[in-house]
């Protein structure tokens, strides 16, 4: 049996705590103590976070591979498919666990203030607990089936939370869209899992699966297909082209939910999946290239779409899509350069992104709270005097997202750019394309700085304007909501610089993950390259600083005095394209939704036709019955007479027949 005080035991307890918190919250919601339903959630997240921090501190030092696995019995076993309750603790899962629980704790504290007085208070916190639990299950899994269970749990909870205001039609539609679009990717994921299971000698546990594949490599076509199918799931969950459309709509839910989805629990799952499967991706340069191209085009497209949005949360949503694109860019370069660099860059960006994106979303939640649920940037402005704390923390988050030096976003974005450049300089198969992707990523970084600071200036600068929905008492948020903002701002400021550029702790720790070790070994076997030292590249850093400051400067020159929108002549058509989201929603509507609706309408007509035939048949007995119905008049003697007449006819026939 597993020792509860061992690292794995402790982190499994940490992973399951949110579940019990969720149950307790739901239970409290049924009693008259419903207004305390946030306590179980906050306490369980916080203690899970502390536990994972303890585990992290315990294993942080040291060298060599770090992977602790445990089988807690069989889940199911069908013929050759043997699935155990198998869990894995390695740096990858531990870092995810710690990040997710820490960010979730802060978001839960913020939500306690944000959601106060809402009728679904207990439902909200219970769903949130379930959400975090599903994500923890996902990261702790040691086989694809438990991972899939967590994956689907995350999808379900996101559906329920996005549709939290289920009476609002737009929220219900957004929830449905999120669920169906991610489901489209999940189909690919499930096929990929089973293909991998077959190619991997019918093993289910990650370690034996990857070992088998390393020893008996399948045909390159198979491995590329597996990689692309797995990536298909990640595209759905992590909102990449062409399935990104659900994420901007998903902010119909309460704002802290958006923070949770964007920062910790949902969209990072795809990045985590690909990091976990890095040993497969190094074997297929084609798959890596496709991942990088999709990531790059998503990053650029989403940044372009974010340029003209009027809705503060929508800008942030597109920026998440764009930043996820960056992570996939890094993951995609892992075939051309060592996954020790590429995957670490992606995971590092995921880590820092969690801080500043949660901060930005909670900041926008704070603005929304003050403005009477108005989030349209045209309706308010100049809030920096009114909400000094929100303003300061939002500024730090924006600067981190834009990639201002020293802040956390700068280091991680720099690593990604650097790894792309190295992939371009390498002698890998498609290295010239990586040069192009580097250029796209650099351009996107500039756009990121511009749109982030456009949103910032429109919200906080210029003359003070407050929408009438705020009923005249717009105010700074209560302290309960400011504390998470300040903590996250500290994280966005310092988390990046502490964990990697100064100490290189993050990279060294993550390298001890067996997934990355396997991938690195595979990379060395597949390429005849010598390993290059990965240092700080002053040229890339200078370029990204220049781009960030350029973007900020452009935003400042246009929007320093706040709204309204100022568009330079000649860019009007581009502005309209961005504002209308490139008409992607309309195109999807035309290409997918409308044909489906037409098919459904045709099916309905056909069904009505079949129904008409069936109804016609059913009229025949009814018509016959109508003829006979008067016979049933309730008089006993009448029935008896009928019987007697029948008997008489019968006897007559018998007598005449026998007489003949």
């Amino acid at each position: 049996m597993l020792d509860p005080s061992s690292p794995l035991g402790l982190s499994l307890i940490a992973a399951s705590l949110p579940f019990f918190g969720a149950v307790l919250s739901a239970f409290l919601g049924c009693t008259r103590f419903g207004r305390f339903a946030h306590l179980p959630a906050i306490i369980s997240f916080a203690s899970a976070s502390v536990m994972s921090a303890i585990v992290l501190a315990g294993v942080a030092e040291g060298h060599g591979s770090l992977a602790i696995t445990a089988d807690l019995g069989t889940w199911f076993s069908v013929d050759r498919l043997n699935v155990d309750f198998s869990f894995l603790l390695d740096p990858l899962s531990l870092l995810m666990l710690a990040t997710v629980t820490f960010i979730a704790t802060l978001i839960a504290i913020f939500s306690a203030g944000y959601m106060r007085g809402d009728s679904g208070f207990a439902r909200y916190f219970s769903l949130m607990g379930l959400f975090v639990f599903a994500m923890c299950l996902l990261v702790m899994a040691n086989n694809f089936f438990i991972l899939l269970a967590g994956w689907e749990g995350v999808g379900l909870c996101s559906y329920l939370l996005v549709g939290y205001y289920y009476a609002k039609p737009s929220a219900a539609a957004a929830a449905r869209k999120a669920f169906l679009v991610t489901r489209l990717g999940d189909v690919g994921l499930v096929i990929g899992i089973f293909l991998l299971w077959q190619a991997g000698g019918y093993h289910t546990r990650f370690d034996s699966l990857f070992e088998h594949i390393a020893k008996h490599p399948p045909a390159s076509g198979t491995i590329t297909a597996i990689c692309l199918l797995l990536f298909c799931g990640a595209v759905g969950k992590s909102a990449q082209l062409p399935l990104y459309v659900w994420l901007p709509d998903a902010m119909e839910g309460p704002t802290p939910v958006s923070a949770l989805i964007h920062a910790a629990t949902m969209v990072t799952a795809g990045v985590f999946l690909l990091a976990r499967c890095a040993p497969l991706f190094v074997m297929s340069p084609e798959a890596g290239l496709i991942v990088a191209i999709i990531g790059g085009s998503t990053a650029f497209l989403a940044a372009f779409l974010a340029l003209a949005q009027n809705d503060l949360k929508r800008v942030l949503a597109y920026s998440t899509v764009s930043q996820l694109g960056f992570m996939f860019l890094a993951l995609g370069s892992s075939g051309a350069i060592s996954p020790r660099i590429a995957v670490v860059a992606a995971m590092f960006h995921l880590f820092t992104h969690a801080f500043f994106k949660a901060l930005l979303f909670l900041g926008s939640g704070s603005v929304m709270h003050a403005m009477g649920n108005v989030i349209d940037m045209r309706k308010f402005g100049g809030l920096r005097k009114l909400m000094p704390w929100t303003h300061a923390t939002f500024l730090i988050g924006s600067a981190a997202l834009a990639g201002v030096p020293i802040l956390s976003g700068f280091w991680s974005k720099d690593q990604i750019l650097h790894s792309l450049l190295e992939a371009g300089e390498s002698h890998a198969k498609y290295h010239t394309i990586y040069y192009g992707l580097f250029a796209v990523a650099a351009l996107t970084a500039g756009l990121t700085a511009f749109y982030t600071f456009r949103a910032y200036f429109l919200t906080f600068w210029g003359e003070e304007r407050i929408p009438h929905e705020a009923h005249g008492h717009a105010h700074e948020s209560p302290r309960l909501m400011l504390v998470p903002l300040v903590v996250l701002a500290a994280g966005a400021l310092l988390a990046g610089v502490i964990v990697d550029p100064l100490t290189h702790w993050f990279g060294h720790f993550l390298e001890r993950s067996p997934s990355i070790e396997h991938a690195h070994a595979g990379y060395l076997a597949h390429s005849n390259m010598v390993e290059t030292a990965h240092g700080f590249h002053w040229g890339v850093a200078g370029l990204s600083t220049l781009l960030a400051l350029g973007g900020i400067g452009a935003a400042a020159s246009l929007y320093r005095r706040g709204g309204p929108e100022k568009v330079p002549e000649g860019l009007k058509s581009l502005y309209a394209l961005s504002l209308n989201k490139l008409y992607v929603d309309e195109a999807y509507d035309l290409a997918v939704v409308k044909p489906a609706e037409m098919l459904a309408a045709t099916g309905r007509q056909f069904d009505a036709f079949l129904d008409a035939i069936a109804r016609l048949l059913s009229y025949a007995p009814r018509f016959l019955a109508a003829l006979l119905r008067p016979l049933h008049n309730g008089l006993v003697q009448f029935y008896a007479l009928g019987m007697v007449l029948g008997l008489a006819v019968f006897i007559t026939v018998v007598v005449f027949r026998s007489a003949r």
Partner: protein, 142 residues
């Protein structure tokens, strides 16, 4: 000498009387008696043919029919009692409300009288004052 024909004639007469009685009377107890009469006519036929063939099959059948008729009598009388309590009358035409919906009712030109006298006292639950059975809802004549 009494031949098979005599038996058969008596049986047929019993059956015929029962049949006519069943079709013409409407007091439910009379109806039941007529049905019994028909049954006994049939039993007589069984016995006669059994005797003619010299086998016991007919007699066994007869015994069975008598047994079944006894059960039937118990059941039928209990049902009549319940119907009487509801409708305060033994008229079988009173129950034509069970007819199919939408079929016009048969008009009874000379209905049987409905008894209105007080019902008999019933045994009370222990510890309660003896009283009179509550009057059942009267079934109106259609």
């Amino acid at each position: 000498m009494i031949s098979l024909w005599h038996f058969l004639i008596v049986g047929a007469v019993l059956f015929g009387l029962g049949l006519v009685g069943f079709l013409t009377r409407r007091n439910m107890i009379t109806l039941f008696l007529c049905a019994e009469l028909m049954l006994q006519g049939v039993v007589l036929n069984f016995l006669a043919f059994g005797r003619m063939h010299g086998s016991l099959n007919g007699q066994v059948f007869g015994l069975f029919i008598i047994t079944v008729a006894a059960c039937e009598a118990g059941l039928a009388l209990a049902l009549f009692l319940m119907l009487y309590r509801r409708g305060r009358s033994l008229d079988s035409g009173l129950w034509q409300t069970i007819r199919e919906q939408g079929v016009p009712p048969a008009i009874d030109t000379e209905p049987l009288p409905i008894e209105t006298e007080e019902p008999h006292p019933v045994l009370p639950v222990t510890g309660m004052k003896p009283g009179v059975a509550p009057r059942e809802r009267e079934v109106t004549r259609a």
